[in-house]
Amino acid sequence: MLLKLTFLVPLFPLIGSIINGFFGLKLGEKKVGLIGSAAVFLSFITTILVFIGFLLLPEGEHVFEQSLFTWMVAGDFHVDFGFQIDNLSLVMMSFVTGVGFLIHVYSTGYMHGEYSFYRFFAYLNLFMFAMLLLVMGNNFLLMFIGWEGVGCCSYFLIGYYFEKKSACDAGTKAFVVNRVGDFAFLLAVMYIFSIFGTIDYTEVFHAAPEKLIFGGEVVTIITLLLFVGATGKSAQLPLYTWLPDAMEGPTPVSALIHAATMVTAGVFMVVRCNPLFNLAPDTMLVVAFVGAGTALFAATIGMTQFDIKRVLAYSTVSQIGYMFLACGVGAYTAAIFHMVTHAFFKACLFLGSGSVIHGLEGEQDMRKMGGIKGDQPITYMTFLVSTLAIAGIPPLSGFFSKDEVLYHSLMDGNIILWGMGISAALLTAFYMFRLVFMTFHGESRVDPSVHVHESPKVMTLPLVILAGLATVGGLLGIPLFHGWHLLHNWLEPILHFDLASALQHSEHMLHEAGRHAPVWSHLLEKEEHNVWLEIFLMLFSSVVAITGIALAYIFYVKRPDLPDKLTEGQWGYDIVKNKYLVDELYDETIVQPTIEGSKLLWKECDARGIDGAVNGVARVIGWFSDRGKAFQSGFVRNYALFIVVGFITLLLIAI
């Protein structure tokens, strides 16, 4: 049976990583690149086979579990090393391996001639392994291995150029910030175990409505902890600061890890845990507002940056904010939809920026670019298509997914959330076209000694494929027509939630505890799908996107002198440009006190306080022993006497 192949999907990249890691130096660049890419390609092919196997499952079966071995057993705690194949994990596996393969191919060109080429591919394959564990695991702890595993690989790859201090610092920062979130995740896992006695998805999610009270304290705390974990990995407020710094890594890494896959792990996790989040309306509100807030916040910073990769980094933070906004209003399909389309266009944008940097021999500052669309025609065209997609111009993929998010944020959320979302959309269109215009249009500001050239085919081909996917990706979720939304139909089995029955269980549990259930009846009133409203919103957001583009055109093509004039001496602009001084704030309030506290604790408390007290005791004893010298006669019989007396005294006390 095809599903039995499941374990091979993560195994291939692991093997590739081991081969390249241990023998890569001897194999040489060609073979290393081939092995690295082939490993992911095989993984992609296996995913397709597993997908077919899943489609062949008998009617009514939506989950396939494959348990490899028992990982840990201790006391009454038991957890398997096993995989779960269902509609959600298949979507994730497909796009992770698919996009991952393209980026591997691109990397063979981009990293050409790079010193320790093999190390790069060993890490990249290892990342694929960890990411696949994350999405395929059948329990929370296995997800956690993948969760920290991808973080660890991200640390390796950010610090790939480990001779650069800034790269090392960025890597360490990413790791530590993620650790904060990860621990919250771990707490949630422990809490889940103490409530359910298991951490297997199927059992936990099945029992959730019967064990957790709707809106109760327990489920709210669990989901909040999970969400804190998500904010770390997915770079949301307030733990987003590591992602812009992570751009120190090579550009394919930014595309694969810090745009398409790893950073969306938080969204995946929330969707995976939707049976828990559905029971916690308070958490959902937090998720929605953090998401919308991050979308807007990061977009404002994105407008002011000049490093091409940093603009894209803030754009990623902002777009993931949209996905959380969707999760927060219960539109999980929209979240996954946007995740997939975002993977296409953002991977294309990052790889495109890599192609530009490659062509300009390492230049990342947009103020030193401009007018290179003729020199890099393929890069330019693919970049433009993806930019139109992210800006939300119909009929490109980003338009559909973003509109679905915005529609639900108004219908299932409220007008404030929608307002934040649509404002961020305006800013997105603006800063993305600012980027395009500054990089490709206008007059060249490129250093004349640099010979601008188009990248080799192995780099442009992935760009073309990704741009193609960014164009047609919207077909996955055609709106308006009932039943045409493929993704919605596909994810239905894992998103199915019977609110009425959950509420009944909760009422029952509350009664048992002698408490009254609040009035929940209003929650069950179903709002009709309003087609006309949706059409109106679509038109409106198209207008918004075009406005953003038009503004960017005026500022950066028509009147390139305007931006400087308007921002000159504006303190508000300076604050945004300095990223709201959040890094400085964290440094002041968290980093420095930690270091100073450590020194203080060491010198004052440990050396002077505790060790001083010990020495003090010794000194007091010394003083007494001076007085007691009379007893030290030097005669053995006296000592013997003391020992016997002491021994007897102690025994008397003891008895």
Binding site: D76, C152, Y155, G159, R179
Partner: protein
């Protein structure tokens, strides 16, 4: 077999004294041969150990002092068998690492073997007096190892260490005698057999002071915060091979003592003091980790991080449930492997660079790619990355604490403190790695070479175990859990309160 494991190193240590002190080759051969043989036999014990069987295995009994019924009695259960193998394993590594020592090699090796024998004896002794003898036997070689071959304020450090530990162990001796007397009062049977004594119910008031006496002895040895102040001095002064045994094996004797003595002998005292001990342990977890952040001397950094990791172990033990204790035993093994590997790396770096100060390193990565990889793996294991061994232990301990009935109200706070320490751990470990291996250094010595085969061979077993235990800890936990279950379900059949021989079987 167990006697062989213990006495081969001890006899070799004595035998070394008859070897000519300039005959370095002979001294090496004896030391290496003895420790390897001991290690091989211990592997045999591990292989033939019956996993499912409850109770002590490989027991040997001899009457030692007839008058007082003190017996030479040894045996292992699932808890001690792992620690036994850990000790013999680390001894081989430590002796290997000391072979190129210049001054007084013979004596150094003899003392190392004696230290090994003492530690092994502690793990196998089933008679309280025998336990005490081995306990003190550990102290003497340590005193000289630090006092003679140490560095810095070595005499101050070693005197402090010995006096501090001695205070604890004398208190323990008093309690050891008191327990036997208490047992004698009920049964009129004089015994120092631990397995018999654990069934005696001691009245709560006596339990309390006896427990405290035992606890102090063990807590100083581990050490538990705030009784740790000997540790930074000792670790910084201690020669690295001895440090491998000290941190890897000897610090576990304290934790082992908690499990073997404190929990079964004094259940009521444990119950009433568990929260207080938890506070000390959790305090130490954060305290050690936080101080480690500011350390520049690599030895001091690993020393303070050890205080933190050992705090986890103690906390898990006093969570007093399956996950907690099993996690703790596993974490003893893990810490033994990780901390000793880290100290060996420190030794390797010091040998090449002539310094241990982080400010003087930087940028070794390019010149030492093999060490770079191994050091990275060990660093990640030390900070508890899932998939590697450190995580399994820490997770089980935290899980045990979270679900602990005994730490009830404080368990959430303890877990949060553990979490804080985990974040600190990633800070100090990664900055240590970055400071040593990464970044650029223009002033590297030209002759700098990567680790040689021998050095790689010392680190390789640790690396393999780190990955293996991380991915498949089951065989280890499976050996521990029957013994832990027995410990948790122990029944008190000899009842003191009743005032007569209630159920003496």
């Amino acid at each position: 077999m167990l006697s062989l494991i213990v006495f081969i190193p001890l006899l070799a240590a004595l035998g070394l004294l008859f070897v000519d002190k300039d005959n370095r080759a002979m001294a090496r051969a004896v030391a290496l041969g003895a420790s390897s043989l001991s290690f091989l036999i211990s592997i045999g014990v591990l292989v033939w150990f019956k996993e499912a069987e409850v109770g002590m295995q490989f027991t040997e009994t001899l009457v030692w002092v007839k008058l007082l019924n003190i017996r030479y009695q040894v045996g292992v259960d699932g808890i001690s068998v792992l620690l036994l193998v850990l000790t013999t394993f680390l001894s081989v590594i430590a002796i290997f690492f000391s072979l190129d020592r210049k001054d007084k090699l013979r004596n150094f090796l003899a003392l190392m073997l004696a230290l090994e024998a003492g530690t092994l004896g502690v793990f196998v002794a089933l008679d309280t007096i025998l336990f005490y003898v081995f306990w003190e036997l550990m102290l003497i070689p340590t005193y000289f190892l630090i006092g003679i071959w140490g560095e810095g304020r070595r005499v101050y450090a070693t005197t402090k260490f010995v006096l501090y530990t001695l205070v604890g162990s004398l208190l323990m001796l008093v309690a050891i005698i008191a327990i036997t007397v208490a047992h004698y009062n009920v049964t009129h049977e004089l015994t120092f057999d631990i397995q018999t004594l654990v069934h005696t119910r001691i009245d709560p008031a006596s339990q309390l002071w006896m427990f405290i006496f035992f606890f102090l002895a063990f807590a100083i040895k581990v050490p538990v915060f705030p009784l740790h102040s000997w540790l930074p001095h000792t670790y910084v002064s201690c020669p690295i091979p001895a440090l491998v045994l000290l941190t890897g094996a000897m610090s576990k004797t304290g934790a082992y003592g908690f499990i073997r003595f404190c929990l079964p002998l004094f259940p009521e005292a444990v119950e009433s003091l568990a929260v207080a001990i938890g506070c000390a342990a959790a305090g130490g977890i954060v305290y050690g980790a936080w101080i480690a952040v500011a350390q520049k001397d690599l030895k001091a950094l690993v020393a303070y991080s050890s205080i933190s990791h050992l705090g986890f172990i103690v906390l898990g033990i006093f969570a007093h449930n399956g996950q907690g204790i099993e996690g703790s035993v596993l974490q003893m093994i893990n810490h033994g492997i990780i901390a000793s590997a880290l100290f060996i790396i420190v030794g390797i770096l010091e040998k090449r660079m002539g310094t241990r100060n982080l400010n003087d390193f930087r940028g070794l990565g390019n010149a030492m790619p093999v060490l770079y990889g191994m050091f990275m793996l060990i660093t990640l294991a030390a900070l508890g990355l899932p998939g590697l061994n450190g995580f399994v232990g820490e997770f089980l301990i935290l899980m045990g604490v979270w679900t602990s009935a005994m730490l009830s109200d404080m368990s959430t706070i303890f877990v949060l403190m553990g979490g804080l320490a985990i974040v600190f751990a990633s800070i100090y470990m990664l900055y240590m790695f970055q400071g040593a291996m990464q970044e650029k250094n223009e002033k590297l010595p030209d002759h700098l070479t990567d680790i040689n085969r021998g050095e790689a061979g010392l680190l390789l077993p640790a690396c393999v175990l780190i990955v293996f235990i991380g991915l498949y800890p089951k065989p280890f936990i499976d050996r521990v859990s029957p013994s832990v279950d027995r410990l948790l379900t122990l029944e008190k059949t000899v009842n003191l309160d009743a005032g007569h021989d209630a159920g003496h079987h």
